[in-house]
């Protein structure tokens, strides 16, 4: 995927010359966060999507949850939860997983409005997600569908961070050990019972803070680029 190779800032300037209006234009006008800034000086948006499946091409977003990290703290006042009307019947398998009934998700707002709100929240911030590929590919596909272009984005994957750490420490990676629940347990974080996009976004944000504090002896010396 092109996105993964080229610098996101370059991609942004390229798009700025081609997108003249709409939500994507607004998003592009805010510079991407400075990768050299310190963790505590930068803002992060922990993000979680619930989807009907794993394919960004054929599956749909059901709901979006996010929370903000500012000055190294999770700020609950900036939480958000957006139920999305998927405009399609749900596949049964996923309904069970997410405990979302057909009726509930139909109460959601339209896909295009949801993405527009989300872009406002992401602008100028680094995104954090667990197993970020879902969020990255779905967001990219959404923008392509709605605005004709992909989305320049800096995104931190807590799953990848955990995997790298384990590899560095020459640990064998057991199946399931990289799951959000198990990683949280490892860092002594409390157990959450709820399973929805917002609770998962908060859970991911907490995990990020825990992992970041173990990255360096002095968390204040960590920079955004250390995690990308």
């Amino acid at each position: 995927m092109l996105n993964a190779i080229i610098p996101q800032s370059l991609y942004r300037s390229y798009l700025l010359r081609r997108v003249s209006s709409g939500p994507l234009r607004k998003y592009l006008e805010t510079p991407l966060p400075d990768k050299n800034s310190y963790l505590n000086d930068s803002e992060f948006l922990s993000l979680d999507f619930e989807t009907t499946g794993l394919s960004a091409d054929t599956d749909k977003i059901l709901s979006i949850g996010y929370t903000l990290i500012r000055q190294g703290r999770i700020v609950l006042a900036e939480n958000g939860y957006i139920p999305v009307d998927p405009d399609a019947e749900l596949e049964e398998k996923n309904v069970v997983i997410h405990q979302i009934m057909d009726d509930h998700s139909k109460q959601g707002i339209s896909f295009s409005v949801a993405i527009e709100i989300l872009l406002e929240k992401i602008a100028g911030r680094t995104v954090i997600a667990h197993h970020a590929n879902i969020e990255r590919t779905f967001l990219d596909a959404a923008c392509k569908k709605l605005y004709g272009h992909g989305l320049p984005l800096n995104i931190i994957d807590t799953l990848k961070m955990a995997k790298q750490r384990m590899e560095q420490q020459h640990q064998t990676i057991k199946p399931n050990s990289l799951r959000l629940f198990n990683l949280r347990n490892e860092y002594g974080l409390p157990r959450y019972n709820a399973h929805n996009a917002l609770e998962d976004a908060i859970a991911t944000a907490e995990l990020f803070l825990a992992m970041a504090s173990y990255r360096s002896n002095d968390i204040n010396s960590c920079k955004v680029k250390d995690f990308l």
């Binding site: 709901s63 949850g65 190294g72 703290r73 999770i74 700020v75 609950l76 006042a77 939480n79 939860y81 139920p83 860092y187 002594g188 974080l189 409390p190 959450y192 019972n193 709820a194 929805n196 996009a197 917002l198 609770e199 908060i202 944000a205 907490e206 803070l209 825990a210 504090s213 173990y214």
Partner: protein
């Protein structure tokens, strides 16, 4: 999905003192909340810096150090930190370090100060010291369905004007007064002082039975020296008094003034438990089999008392009263079988029943005190048989044989006054481990049947001998300190193997026993004759051997631990399990765990004080 639905908000709503706030405020706090993570060993607050944040530990643990880096305390999940500096305007005077990786919920100092100004309970929670926190917790833990009798004074339960008559009134006159006025009870006075009580039944049992004349004065049928109850006593006290003495009416007095009579019916109509019914049934039981059936109601009675929000002191009294009623009825059966006793005797119970601290069926500890004219040749057989019948019967009822054989069936514990006096002299003058073991039984005695003066004769000299007897008291103290509260140096719980897979707190051996033992030492060192632990503590503080604060702290710790224990037992009984004393701490809400630690801290402190004294 609103912020109000977050699991974090649920968590906040269970943490004291936030649990007392209304929904709108909880939403406001959740909204203002920030979350941070701190690694083990890192400093959260440093002496001298400015802090404007209140911290709630969601997971992990923090330690507080003073300026000299001495550990001042450890705090864990559900505890608060940083409030002292916020309340002091921001200046941090103690440093706080993470002992474990911790997830912290942060509440802005401005919001915290606003809550403190607005809500007294909020302010009290954060300003009071640990023992005070415990006191508040006792009130919180009680079921809100507080028994009406426990909160209502008897003067408010008395209704209508009492019928008061002079001693010289004739039976004819009284019958007329009672019938016309619709009274079932009359109080008899002489010089305005209550001297007796007559009820409608007295006419039947006394007048008719004794073939008295209607012109005789009522003094001939009245019950003399009636028990009375002060007007400001609680309804539950009245009920317990009735249960204890098996009476159904109690005159209510305010100083010398007679206010009226309170009846069992008045109380039962108001209250919701069945202790008094059960005791009544026990006194009516026709044989041991019936008694055995009635004793099976004891667990259910405990459950209903706990559910009614009675405090553990009252529950101990109620359950022990039932036990004593069973003992008395059993003795009645034995006497009926063997004929009247050839000489007077005192049936003594020891241990928890004597202290009025039973929570259910337990081992029986009992003894017989006989007058000095007791002659084994002549009387021995009778009392051996009596003891056998009573102890076997109690065992049948679930008060199983004492494993240490402290029972009246054991000849050693069926002796005349002079022998008992020798026993006590030896225990006090030459205390040895065996004697100290007996002390926990034989210094907690009451007479439940027979001639109480026999016990008085035995005990007369005990308190004089123990008071200020340093050698005896120091050994007794050492014995009292053998069971430590189940809490480690860093406020961690010390759990015991329970026979099942789960480790648990032993709330009897390590919870209430250390307090009972402390109270006994205070009582014996100050010559206090009370036997109940709370009454001993209260009396001890009046004589000065125990400070007033120490008394309150221990009394509250006892009440809190006992309440947790009783609720655990009631829950087990409700589930059809056998009640025990093992409480796995993870079964308790975090707040109660913390208060339990406070209670254990109190006991530990008071044990240290005692250890330094002797």
């Amino acid at each position: 999905m609103e912020i109000e639905q977050l699991e974090i908000r649920d968590y906040l709503s269970q943490c004291a003192p936030l649990n007392k706030l209304d929904d709108a405020l909880l939403d406001q706090i959740t909204h203002a909340l920030e979350i941070s993570y701190i690694r083990r060993g890192k400093e959260l607050l440093t002496v001298g810096e400015d802090n404007q944040t209140l911290y709630l530990i969601r997971s992990g643990a923090l330690a507080v150090y003073d300026a000299e880096n001495n550990l001042q305390g450890q705090f864990t999940e559900g505890d608060w930190a940083g409030y002292r500096s916020v309340m002091a305007g921001g200046k941090v005077s103690m440093s706080i370090r993470a002992m474990e990786d911790s997830l912290l919920y942060m509440i802005p100092g401005s919001l915290f100060k606003q809550l403190i100004e607005q809500y007294d309970f909020f302010k009290t929670y954060f300003s009071r010291q640990k023992p005070e926190r415990l006191r508040g917790a006792i009130l919180d833990i009680r079921d809100s369905r507080e028994d009406i009798l426990a909160v209502t004074q008897v003067k408010d339960l008395v209704h209508g004007e009492p019928l008061i008559v002079e001693e010289s009134t004739s039976l004819r006159e009284l019958a007329k007064l009672m019938t016309e006025g619709g009274y079932t009870t009359a109080m008899v006075v002489s010089n305005k002082r209550l001297t007796g009580i007559v009820n409608d039944r007295s006419f039947c049992t006394k007048l008719a039975y004794r073939e008295l004349s209607l012109d005789d004065p009522i003094i001939k049928i009245m019950a003399t020296h009636p028990l009375t109850i002060p007007a400001n006593s609680m309804g539950s006290d009245a009920l317990l008094t009735m249960a204890e003495y098996n009476i159904r009416r109690l005159p209510v007095v305010d100083g010398d003034r007679l206010l009226g009579v309170i009846t069992a019916t008045d109380l039962i109509r108001r209250g919701s438990h069945n202790t008094i019914y059960l005791i009544n049934e026990i006194y009516r039981a026709k044989n041991i089999a019936e008694l055995r059936n009635l004793s099976r109601h004891l667990p259910a009675t405990l459950v209903s008392l706990v559910h009614n929000g009675m405090n553990s002191y009252d529950i101990g009294h109620a359950i022990s009263s039932i036990g004593k009623a069973i003992v008395r009825r059993m003795i009645y059966f034995a006497e009926k079988q063997l004929g009247p006793a050839p000489i007077d005797y005192a049936w003594i119970v020891a241990g928890s029943m004597a202290r009025n601290e039973q929570t259910g069926l337990s081992d029986q500890d009992n003894a017989l005190i006989l007058p000095n004219e007791y002659d084994e040749q002549t009387h021995g057989k009778y009392f051996e048989d009596l003891s056998r019948i009573v102890c076997d019967g109690l065992n049948d009822c679930g008060y199983v044989y004492c494993p240490g054989d402290v029972m009246a069936t054991n000849k050693k514990w069926r002796q005349p006054v002079k022998v008992w006096q020798q026993y006590f002299n030896k225990w006090i003058d030459e205390p040895e481990p065996m004697a100290l073991m007996y002390s926990s039984i034989f210094f907690d005695l009451v007479c439940v049947y027979g001639d109480k003066t026999l016990l008085d004769d035995v005990q007369k000299n005990i308190l004089n001998k123990t008071r200020n007897n340093t050698i005896f008291l120091s050994l007794l103290s050492a014995n009292a300190l053998s069971f430590k509260p189940p809490i480690g140096l860093f406020r961690n719980f010390v759990l015991e193997e329970t026979g099942s897979e789960q480790k648990a707190l032993d709330l009897k051996k390590r919870g209430v026993m250390p307090i009972i033992d402390l109270a006994r030492v205070y009582a014996l060192s100050a010559g206090i004759d009370a036997v109940n632990t709370r009454e001993r503590l209260e009396a001890a503080s009046k004589t000065g051997v125990l400070s007033h604060e120490g008394m309150e702290d221990l009394r509250d710790a006892l009440e809190f631990i006992s309440t947790i224990r009783l609720r655990h037992q009631a829950a087990q009984i409700s589930k059809g399990e056998k009640a025990d004393n093992y409480v796995p701490p993870e079964q308790l809400p975090s707040l109660e765990r913390r208060h339990l630690k406070d209670a254990f801290d109190v006991v530990r402190t008071m044990q240290l004080v005692l250890a330094q004294r002797y």
